[in-house]
């Protein structure tokens, strides 16, 4: 269904805000153009500030592409705004406080990514413990022939897993690891009553009782650097950290120190404090697995995201219930 310029003007207007460096995965332009009249400052030669001011009166909905920051300053240029549609798993880049103050609804990526991120987290955990990436390097470099048997890894089955943040992604991770005979415990802002896993009120307590921590929580002021020196000490020398949340959840400098000094067992990281920069000390380590913020990149997640984003927008413009409105506290 090609949108002709004539028809496009009758589609609801949708402001699109995107940083040029956000992967195209998060911006499905032709699918959106089939339903909405896109207002994209990057397609205009006009400076963003004046583009926004000019279109402001008609902008009720805004699509935030990927991790493009939506600040209170931007929001202040859009007095008619009622809806922000997020298109990434996290929304720490959106000023949620300001949205709440203004009565602007924010929709999330819902379940679109949960399975893929959970799969990735489990994959990273197995990789760190069983040295898959390191073993693969060993074979490809010819070392199996010249150096002999590869050093032993650590068993996963039966280990104690601590899930930090038992939201949609954390729950999917837990469900998978139960099948490996792992015991699951978690920490979260609030205890979840109907959940069969042990609850700990602090990350330190959780770390003390875990062999591995899987970070699945969102990044907020409260969770920033929650994995700090104390938590890493509590986790111990054999402990493993897997991070599929946000780089900011971890005191990265401290983690590097712990790894370099052998004070922690290993780490599987998909996110970093200052992407795409990754601490170079990690490149030489066999007990570390590094991924380029890739946990959501499958065709299925892409389709699910598109359906959810378009579904939320169509519901909004038809005055129907939204599919994945966030509870802004």
């Amino acid at each position: 269904m090609d949108s002709q310029p004539f028809l496009a003007k009758t589609f609801p207007p949708l402001l699109v805000l995107r940083s040029p460096s956000v992967p195209p995965f998060f911006f499905f332009k032709s699918q959106l153009q089939a339903h909405f009249h896109l207002l994209d400052p990057l397609d205009s030669s006009e400076p963003t500030h004046s583009f926004l001011s000019r279109h402001a009166p008609s902008v009720l909905a805004l699509l935030c592409v990927g991790a493009t920051p939506i600040s209170s300053e931007t929001l202040s240029l859009l007095p008619s705004l009622k809806l922000v549609v997020a298109s990434s798993a996290g929304f720490d880049h959106i000023d949620l406080q300001e949205c709440r103050r203004r009565g602007i609804t924010v929709t999330t990526a819902g379940q679109a990514f949960s399975e893929d991120v959970a799969d990735f987290a489990v994959g990273l955990l197995i990789d760190v413990l069983r040295r898959m990436s390191a073993g693969d390097r060993y074979v490809r470099s010819g070392s199996w022939v010249t150096k002999g048997e590869y050093p032993l890894g650590a068993k996963l089955s039966g280990k104690r897993i601590g899930i930090v943040g038992l939201g949609r992604i954390g729950s999917e991770v837990a469900k998978r690891l139960v099948a490996f005979g792992c015991s699951i415990a978690y920490c979260s802002r609030k205890e979840k009553p109907l959940v069969p896993y042990a609850y700990h009120s602090t990350v330190d307590e959780l770390a003390k009782k875990s062999d591995a921590l899987i970070l699945c929580s969102s990044l907020t002021k409260e969770t920033h650097h929650m994995i700090d020196h104390g938590v890493m000490e509590a986790l111990g020398k054999e402990g493993v950290i897997v991070n599929v949340g946000r780089g900011g959840l971890v005191d990265e400098k401290e983690l590097v120190k712990f790894l370099v000094q052998g004070q922690i067992g290993g780490a599987g990281l998909d996110v970093y404090e200052d992407e795409p920069l990754v601490p170079q000390e990690l490149f030489a380590m066999e007990n570390v697995v590094l991924a380029p913020h890739a946990s959501v990149y499958t065709p299925e997640s892409s389709t699910a995201l598109q359906e959810l984003v378009i579904g939320n927008l169509k519901a909004f413009f038809s005055n129907e219930p939204l599919l994945s409105a966030a509870q802004l506290e």
Binding site: P20, S21, V22, P23, F25, E115, D116, A118, D119, F120, V122, G123, L124, I126, D127, L129, R130, R131, M132, S133, G135, D136, R137, Y138, V139, R140, W144, V145, G148, E149, Y150, L152, G153, A154, K155, L156, S157, G158, K175, R176, L177, V178, A179, F180, G181, E275, P276, V278, F283, V289, L290, A291, P292, A294, Y297, T298, P299, E300, S301, S302
Partner: protein
């Protein structure tokens, strides 16, 4: 028992070596300059052989050791032991089942995730320093993929249980259908291959299962199919597999075993859709220790005339 001669076929585990040395007269076969003259001069002192996945007790070795009473394998696989010959001569055989089931199953799932989501490739990419903002590569979702298992024994069942937690529909091929199992049965490997996304080899290596993954099976798997081998290298016709991968007639492979370890076909080194591991299926500190304890336990039981812990023959 210090006078009982135990021949260790190859290096496999230093803890096991230490323990064998403490209890028995240990001969390290790989340190011997001339194997046949060693066997000739020691044939009356060796009562036990300890083997593993790489080296065991073939007919020739068994014939050369007239006092051989027991072969204890540091593995669950028995393909390196001439079982018929052992039966014929009344030689006991033990292996290390159960203790390694979980590790092997964990690795099978790990390989599936690593191949489909390109974990090792991603790691290589980040370490190369080439990661720029906005880079991304679509990989294949694992959850929900159809997993076909060849051999539904202890390891096959453990793989199935784990894959089910990822909502993977499970199907299998086995010598006989298991009516009490709820998974879908296919009466041939080719049919199984045609109806699954990921095919896992989890059966023992025997004459019948040698090259069970051949050209016909690879064709049935198709260009999106992924093969996972945590069994034995000779389960797969390796040259056929290599050409299928290089020519992109097969989607990918996660391989822990090869026909001629430690040699791995170099054509695979340049591919981004394969994961190659140096036979680490049971390679964890915990499991190798448990395996070593089973080997020692079986040997002690035998020489103390007590029931064997994990007898096969």
């Amino acid at each position: 028992m210090e006078s009982i001669g135990v021949l260790m076929a190859c290096p496999m585990n230093s803890y096991l070596e230490q323990q064998l040395e403490k209890r028995f007269k240990l001969y390290r076969f790989w340190t011997v300059p001339d194997k046949s003259s060693f066997l000739a001069s020691h044939k009356d002192s060796i009562q036990a052989v300890v083997g593993n996945a790489g080296a065991g007790a073939d007919a020739e070795l068994i014939e050369a050791l007239p006092k051989l009473e027991i072969v204890a394998s540091f593995s669950v696989g028995l393909d390196k032991i001439d079982l018929a010959k052992c039966k014929e001569k009344g030689i006991r055989v033990t292996n290390t089942p159960d203790v390694l089931t979980e590790d092997v199953a964990d690795l099978a799932i790990g390989l599936m995730l690593a191949v489909l989501r390109k974990l090792c490739e991603s790691d290589r990419y980040v370490r190369s320093g080439k990661w720029k903002r906005g880079d991304y590569v679509l990989t294949t979702k694992f959850t929900g993929k159809k997993v076909g298992i060849i051999g539904l024994g202890r390891i096959g069942m453990a793989i199935a249980k784990r894959a089910e937690a990822f909502s993977c529909p499970i199907s299998y091929y086995s010598r006989t259908e298991k009516p009490e199992i709820k998974y879908k049965y296919y009466p041939s490997v080719v049919e199984l291959a045609a109806h699954c996304d990921i095919l896992v080899v989890a059966c023992p290596l025997t004459k019948e299962t040698h090259h069970i993954i051949n050209r016909e099976v690879i064709d049935a798997m198709g260009p999106k199919g992924v093969l996972i081998n945590i069994g034995r290298g000779p389960h797969v016709d390796e040259p056929e597999l290599v050409s299928a991968l290089v020519e992109r007639r097969l989607g990918g492979a996660g391989l822990d075993v090869f026909e001629n370890e430690p040699y791995v076909p170099e054509e695979l080194f340049g591919l981004d859709n394969v994961v190659l591991l140096p036979h680490v299926g049971s390679g964890t500190v915990e499991t190798r220790q448990a395996m070593a304890d089973l080997v020692i336990g079986n040997l002690e039981a035998h020489f103390q005339k007590k029931p064997l812990l994990t007898p096969v023959v």
